[in-house]
């Protein structure tokens, strides 16, 4: 496979996984809140982290998850129904960036991690993505929207943020355990699909996700 083809497959992967992430963020958020479930915990610990870990396992390419986060955040922001979701959009983009930092070490290859380390990384990822994502949006949203930035109340919020982040951490541990159950040969086969199958499939996932976002009630 040429470098150019590898690059194109990666871009298609970012489009597919990022769009799917954006669709799930736009569609599940209100549904989970209405059902009385902690939407932030579920979306960070299961959905966002799950897609980022799965894509990292399939492609083993750093930087991809940042691209996915930026795309999913942009889709959340542009979602025509439900208005401006700048806080959530920023949180998603920050989660993508934080994942890249946490999983930067080349030793953290998901398929080669033992169960304890994988679940531990899931807990760390869920906890850090949720808590730092939350703090980042508290700071970035006022800066982006020209709303008043009040950092005085932030220290008082930290215990509540860490409390919710515990659930996100546990969700992350479960997510990693589940992703590790995907057989490595299946992962390899998906990542190395023939281009005649790979590109149409990735394009279809991306387009269907965009249509889903546009058609959401």
């Amino acid at each position: 496979m040429t470098e150019k083809m590898k690059h194109m497959r990666l871009v298609a992967g970012i489009l597919a996984f990022g769009s799917l992430w954006g669709l799930l963020e736009c569609s599940l958020g209100d549904f989970l809140s209405d059902a009385g479930l902690p939407s932030g915990v579920v979306l960070t610990g299961f959905v966002g982290l799950g897609l980022m870990v799965l894509s990292r396992m399939l492609y083993e390419q750093r930087g991809m998850q940042l691209g996915m986060g930026l795309l999913a955040g942009a889709l959340k922001f542009l979602h025509p129904i439900g208005g401006c979701m700048i806080c959530s959009a920023l949180a998603i983009a920050v989660e993508g960036a934080l994942f890249e930092v946490l999983w930067a070490s080349p030793r953290l290859r998901i398929s080669r991690l033992d169960a304890g380390t994988a679940v531990g990384m899931g807990v760390i990822s869920g906890f850090v993505l949720y808590s730092l994502g939350y703090v980042a949006t508290q700071i970035l949203t006022p800066l982006v929207t020209a709303a008043p930035l009040s950092l005085d109340t932030l220290p008082g919020l930290l215990p509540a943020i860490f409390s919710s982040a515990t659930l996100a951490g546990l969700a992350g541990g479960v997510t990693l355990a589940m992703v590790r159950m995907v057989p490595s040969d299946v992962a390899s086969r998906i990542a190395h699909l023939k281009k005649e199958v790979y590109f149409p499939t990735a394009s279809a996932v991306a387009v269907l996700s965009w249509m889903g976002i546009l058609l959401l009630p």
Binding site: G83, M85, T117, G120, M121, F127, T137, T145, T153, G156
Partner: protein
């Protein structure tokens, strides 16, 4: 070199994960013990307990269109300051506190374009949703 590094990673990751879970558990105990307040039908307005039913019976609801083109109805915040007997409301900043401890401080220029909904959530016309505090239990004048 590599096996030794691998062993360190295998030990370090569960240790960090356990520390974070411990931090989260202690934070939960702290929040449940000291920060969370019981959600009731009353809101403390600068020290005076006012029921939502009373506010809705006394003041007329208004519609508010937000910058995101959403329309919400509720009691204008100006009515709350009137109920609490706050003199010169424009001269103050207000601390809005939710049952779970979530707190935002907001100036009058934003509050004059806001409403309190029947489910005790404040909606601002010009501020993002981060400021729309849910399940309000207390509003303090600072």
């Amino acid at each position: 070199m590599c096996p030794r590094r691998g062993v360190r990673l295998e030990r370090l990751v569960p240790l960090v994960a356990a520390c974070l879970l411990l931090l989260g558990t202690l934070s939960t105990i702290y929040v449940k013990s000291f920060q969370e307040q019981e959600s009731t039908e009353f809101i403390s307005l600068n020290g005076t307990a006012v029921s939502i039913d009373h506010l809705y019976a006394t003041y007329s609801e208004q519609s508010l269109e937000t910058s995101a083109d959403e329309t919400h109805t509720g009691i204008p915040f100006a009515s709350l300051t009137q109920e609490a007997g706050i003199q010169d409301p424009a001269a103050h900043t207000y601390r809005i506190i939710a049952a779970d401890g979530y707190t935002k401080e907001v100036e009058w220029k934003y509050l004059q374009n806001s409403v309190l909904t029947s489910d005790k959530r404040i909606i601002f016309a010009q501020l993002p949703k981060q400021y729309w505090v849910r399940d309000i239990v207390e509003i303090k004048v600072i």
